[in-house]
Amino acid sequence: MRPIIEIAGLSKTYASGFNALKQVNLDIHRGEIFALLGPNGAGKTTLISIICGIVNPSTGTVHVDGHEIRRDFRATRSLIGLVPQELTTDAFESVWATVSFSRGLFGLPPDPAHIEKVLKDLSLWDKKDNRIMTLSGGMKRRVLIAKALSHEPRVLFLDEPTAGVDVSLRKDMWEVVRKLRESGVTIILTTHYLEEAEEMADRIGVITKGELILVEEKAALITKLGKKQLSLHLHERLAEVPVTLAAFSLTLSPDGMELTYTYDIQAERTGITGLLRALADAGIRFRDLNTKQSSLEEIFVDLVRQKQ
């Protein structure tokens, strides 16, 4: 099946002359959750803004469900819901009015039952008659989500949706996202909370300085780039790492009770057998051992560092 979003050779140079996107190529599959990761100023919001029609591209094309975003803007924009990064809401409107307004703007007839459902899902129902300016930041963020869902989009962009949102609300929000995905909605999100990408996404793209440097299945990414750490809990305290073990570049914990060995699971030889043999030769005994895979966050930091 054709990807829901096809981005080809996309570049953006702002009026200031700043080159925010460089030849980005990317396909988003139908029904997936795609996480876009990158440091501040990488070009995430720019990329999303182009797809949604807020910013004109300099070169390149974007197709949404087979429609070109500029020629068939009606078709593409009707399919898309956007939750922007900034908390930009009206002040004097009521929650109900602003969410109903969004539905109308996207060309759909009023449907109070749908709006009610959206507001209830986002725990905004009891606030429906409140003016937006009387809401807290987290509630405003939910209003923005409600606005984006008011017109039943098939593709949802969430630009750092959990910035400034407390833990319980974040959980609720991911619940909403999961339900949407179950109903077939494709979701593209950017986040700085990498655990979330790790928890939520099917695929991950890493962007830095306007270049998409990597796109990978999340699981594959973690195994492909992941390093593993082997921790050895010692029987007796060790003052320092014996010179015979220098080749393994072990680190010793401050209390002298734990040795850590880092290895690459992709490597031909992990060196574990050799390490265990060398430990036995050195007369070091251990009570327990465990291995730990590096988190996405560590992988991500590595990648960006390599690029710089």
């Binding site: 702002y14 009026a15 803004s49 949604c52 029609g53 807020i54 910013v55 004109n56 803007f73 009606r74 078709a75 924009r77 009707s78 898309i80 956007l82 922007p84 900034e86 930009t88 809401t89 009206d90 004097f92 409107e93 009015a97 307004f101 969004s102 539905r103 109308g104 703007l105 996207f106 060309g107 759909l108 007839p109 606005k147």
Partner: protein, 253 residues
């Protein structure tokens, strides 16, 4: 056609007026009444008649035009500038709306308000002077055309402005002087040469003249010319807005 989208914008903009009823309707009515007191009663008692029309009645069309111009510009420019300023414009830009539909929503609402206001002022004027409208159809035609044209002009200012000062500067430095010099309170035929000729370069002269003709059948320039200038101004503004949307000027760059 995104009918629901246009309706949503139109209603949103009209609701904004509803919330600020005091400043949108009451204040123009008060200031118009003041003009009547000062110009109509105080000065008018000395001027008696212009071209067979009492001075108080003579200034009614000009006063309505003055309000129409300033209110159309300020309503439309604020209507589009404010979402740009707060950032809520993102939603408009990401919605499946063509530029014509956006215009119908914003300019339609701004023009509607001006037209309603124009009629309210006309009614207010009825309390001060005996009114007579010789050509009601043309009176309404000028009212609508002027409201739409200057709402478009305001829309352009709202797109162009990148600060609240710029939003004020054109109405303040250009439109208000042109209106006062445009024969609102007098017939330009009373101006000494060369000012009577220079005045013909002021587009407001044509608006006021045509509008006044629809009331009293007296005019500084021919009605056909008035109408043509008004329509030309409207089309010119439409062209500029079209270009702005096509290139994404100040919106999508």
């Amino acid at each position: 056609m995104n009918y629901h989208g246009m309706k949503a914008i139109y209603r949103f903009e009209m609701a904004r007026t509803g919330r600020t009823l005091m400043q949108s309707i009451v204040s123009p009515v008060i200031s118009t009444s003041l003009y009547f007191v000062v110009f109509g009663a105080a000065i008018g008692s000395r001027i008696t008649e212009i071209e067979g029309v009492s001075y108080g009645a003579f200034i009614v069309p000009g006063l309505i035009m003055l309000t129409l111009l300033t209110q159309s510009i300020s309503n439309a420019s604020f209507g589009i500038y404010f979402p740009r300023f707060t950032g809520t414009i993102y939603e408009l830009l990401s919605a499946p709306l063509s530029f014509v539909e956006v215009l119908v929503g914003y300019v339609g609402a701004a023009a509607s308000k001006s037209i309603i206001l124009g009629l309210i002022i006309l009614a207010t004027a009825g309390f001060f002077v005996p009114l007579q409208v010789a050509h009601p159809f043309w009176m309404l035609a000028f009212l609508v055309l002027t409201s739409v044209a200057f709402s478009l002009f305001g829309f352009i200012i709202g797109l162009w402005a990148d600060g609240f000062e710029k939003l004020q500067i054109i109405p303040l430095l250009i439109v208000t002087p042109l209106t006062f010099l445009g024969g609102t309170f007098y017939s330009i035929s009373v101006l000494p040469a060369p000012w009577d000729t220079i005045a013909l370069f002021n587009p407001v002269v044509y608006l006021v003249s045509g509008f006044r003709w629809s009331f009293y059948e007296v005019a500084d320039v021919s009605v056909a010319v008035s109408l043509s200038v008004t329509v030309a101004f409207l089309l010119g503004c439409l062209g500029v807005v079209g270009w702005m949307f096509k290139t994404g000027y100040r919106l999508r760059n």
